[in-house]
């Protein structure tokens, strides 16, 4: 189907079902129950899952296939966001031109940075991209924000003001990002018993775009171009002596992944019409590296899993506070309860990075292939266990 083989088609269908049903899947606990804080099915977080999913899918095309580790991809994300907000300011709140421009500008910007950075490989390439990203951050944060020429609005961040031109804006249209009149914030609430599910227009726009981008990534992975990118990672010397020029291949991969990042940045601004320089900081670039490695670099689904994993823990762990801990450990005698809270305290709330760091370490040490490898091992284990149990009986189909 769609030019994919059977395995890839089923992967795409699984991803489609999961993203479309995410409002249900991510809200398994009834509202108001003690477990409700583990629910992730609210629009804001769901949007971030798929937007960072797009960012990581694109990053994986560069890092997973060619092995070039860019430490500056957040720059393209930021550029995408700024472009989108400028479209809101100048044209209207319609998200289509905003997203289109963010992709185009990110493509041009990544062409420039990639052209220079790809003259080196390995650690030097990483450092060059990092340097460019920090320069972009400095530009956005201060240089391009002065009274004479204010492109980024500095510390405050770029946003839409009442006196902006917005030449295509009509009074009938919502006063926030919309898709031909459908506000990105419009949410349909479905209450079933104790449960409540949110169906948000912005989330579904992002989800559909993510599915398209995921589909494109599969096509790229399976194409001759994708094979050449793996050849770059495997042996550039042999490539050179086989009549192939690695430079345009890596540059094309760099620009494609930059466009994915720009798209993610544009979508971020489309969900919340604000662009700040902090989006370009090196920590943001590092985050997408973590997502890709955590999920499984070079695999199709890994980066999406990694993005979801990190964003989930960021939101859930950072929300847990000492009161909640006391509730959890209330069944213990007082002294032990306090002691347990004291032990766990550094890992929650503002300390969630500590938890993430430990999880990341465990994954990298025990599952070098990321969460995808974990899934594969689990599948194998279930299969073998099933075989052992049924032994001479009929073959058991493993549920993967």
């Amino acid at each position: 189907m769609l030019g994919l083989d059977k395995k890839d088609t089923s992967l795409l269908i699984i991803v489609a079902i999961l993203t479309l049903l995410a409002p249900f899947i991510l809200n398994p606990f009834p509202t108001g129950s003690a477990m409700a804080q583990f629910n992730a099915g609210y629009p804001d977080l769901m949007q971030r899952f798929v937007i960072f999913g797009i960012f990581a899918i694109g990053f994986n095309i560069l890092f997973g296939l060619t092995g070039y580790l860019s430490f500056g991809h957040a720059a393209f994300l930021g550029v995408g966001s700024y472009s989108a907000v400028w479209m809101f300011k100048l044209l209207s709140y319609n998200v289509i031109p905003a997203i289109a421009l963010s992709v185009v500008v990110a493509a041009l910007f990544s062409l420039l940075i990639g052209y220079v950075s790809l003259r080196r490989s390995g650690i030097y390439f990483s450092i060059l991209t990092l340097a460019f990203a920090q320069m972009s951050f400095a530009l956005a944060y201060s240089v391009l924000s002065n009274p004479k020429f204010n492109l980024t609005n500095g510390e405050t961040g770029l946003q839409v003001y009442a006196d902006d031109p917005q030449i295509f804006h009509r009074d009938s249209l919502p006063d926030m990002p919309h898709l031909f009149g459908l506000s990105m914030r419009s949410t349909y609430k479905l209450d079933i018993g104790a449960w409540s599910f949110d169906f948000n227009a912005g989330y579904y726009l992002c989800a559909v775009i993510m599915m398209v981008m995921f589909y494109l990534a599969i096509r790229i992975f399976r194409s001759p171009f994708g094979m050449m990118l793996r050849a770059v990672k495997s042996n550039q010397q042999r490539m050179n002596y086989t009549g192939l020029n690695p430079r345009p291949y890596t540059l094309a991969a760099f620009v494609i992944s930059g466009m994915y990042a720009g798209l993610a940045g544009g979508l971020m601004a489309a969900m919340d019409p604000l662009a700040g320089a902090e989006r370009m900081q090196w920590t943001a670039s590092g985050e997408v590296v973590l997502m890709t490695i955590l999920g499984g670099a070079g695999t199709l689904i890994g980066p999406v899993l990694g993005a979801g994993f990190i964003k989930y823990f960021e939101n859930i762990f950072s929300k847990i506070n000492d009161n909640i801990l006391h509730q959890w450990f209330s069944f213990l005698p007082d002294g032990i309860e306090d002691f347990m809270v004291f032990i766990v305290h550094p890992f929650i709330g503002k300390g969630w990075h500590l938890t993430l760091g430990i999880l990341f370490m465990l994954v990298v040490i025990f599952l070098p292939g990321g969460l995808v490898e974990g899934g594969q091992r689990l599948g194998k284990w279930i299969r073998n266990r099933g075989k052992g149990a049924t032994d001479a009986k009929t073959k058991q189909e493993p549920a993967e």
């Binding site: 030019g3 001759p224 171009f225 094979m227 490539m239 050179n240 002596y241 494609i256």
Partner: protein, 251 residues
């Protein structure tokens, strides 16, 4: 005029004159061996032919065109394929994929943004690669990771990859270095068979005299960066200058 004409080539690394005044002519459709003791400049000369090094002086012409100043991939596209001393293959890719890459390079040139059709839909390249694997007698290994193969198989695959590009000149850099006698003989047979079956010029750099004398039609002896003699294998065997270069003056 040979297919490869090297004229007055010199190359200096700091204080070391690696090559000086090298003249070499490789005739079309022959097997030409370049031999010489360690440090004679064989590898430096080879690197000058494929674009890895640029000589300080002189000219290198392939089929009437200068190769100097061109990148390795451009020289390869002109029709020169190189086999390395330690097999250079795409270890992370499967054997079939390894063979498909040179076929793509032959069909699409140095760069082609062929990003949407699937590899399996490229029937012409697929057929060509399979045909070549069959010729190399490794079709049964097509789904194996190339890195997992034995040294001899890697060498065979690399030669097959080079041949799938239908080069006019095949350069081999000590193709049997570090091989057991049996593998060496297999490689000699393979190269003989290749030569028989197609119009190809082979230039071979080699240490092993057994290999050289089984294959070469012409031999150039290199010593201290200059060609000493160039002649047929029979004449080279008894040449006093060659003995001197290999065994030292007093011998």
């Amino acid at each position: 005029m040979g297919i490869l004409e090297v004229k007055n080539v010199g190359k200096r690394f700091g204080g070391l004159q690696a090559l000086s005044d090298v003249n070499l002519s490789v005739a079309e459709n022959t097997v030409h061996a370049i031999i010489g003791p360690n440090g004679a400049g064989k590898s430096t000369l080879l690197n000058c032919l494929v674009g890895k090094l640029i000589p300080d002086s002189g000219s290198v012409m392939f089929d009437g065109q200068s190769v100097l100043g061109r990148a390795p991939y451009e020289i390869n596209q002109m029709g020169i394929s190189r086999v390395f001393q330690t097999p250079e293959i795409f270890g992370d890719l499967t054997v079939l994929e390894n063979m498909m890459i040179p076929c793509f390079a032959k069909r699409d040139g140095a760069f082609e943004l062929n990003a949407l059709p699937s590899v399996s839909s490229q029937k012409d390249v697929m057929d060509r690669a399979m045909h070549m694997l069959e010729e190399m007698r490794m079709a049964d290994k097509r789904n194996m990771h190339a890195a997992a193969m034995s040294r001899g198989d890697k060498r065979r695959l690399e030669i097959g990859m080079c041949l799938s590009q239908e080069p006019r000149l095949l350069l081999l850099d000590e193709p049997t270095a570090g091989m057991a006698r049996a593998d060496t003989n297999n490689t000699i047979d393979l190269l003989k068979q290749i030569k028989q079956e197609r119009d190809i010029t082979i230039a071979i750099i080699e240490h092993d005299m057994h290999v050289v004398f089984s294959l070469a039609e012409r031999i150039t002896v290199l010593a201290q960066g200059t060609p000493l003699v160039e002649d047929t294998p029979e004449n080279i065997k008894g040449h006093p200058k060659v003995r001197e270069a290999y065994l030292g003056e007093s011998a």
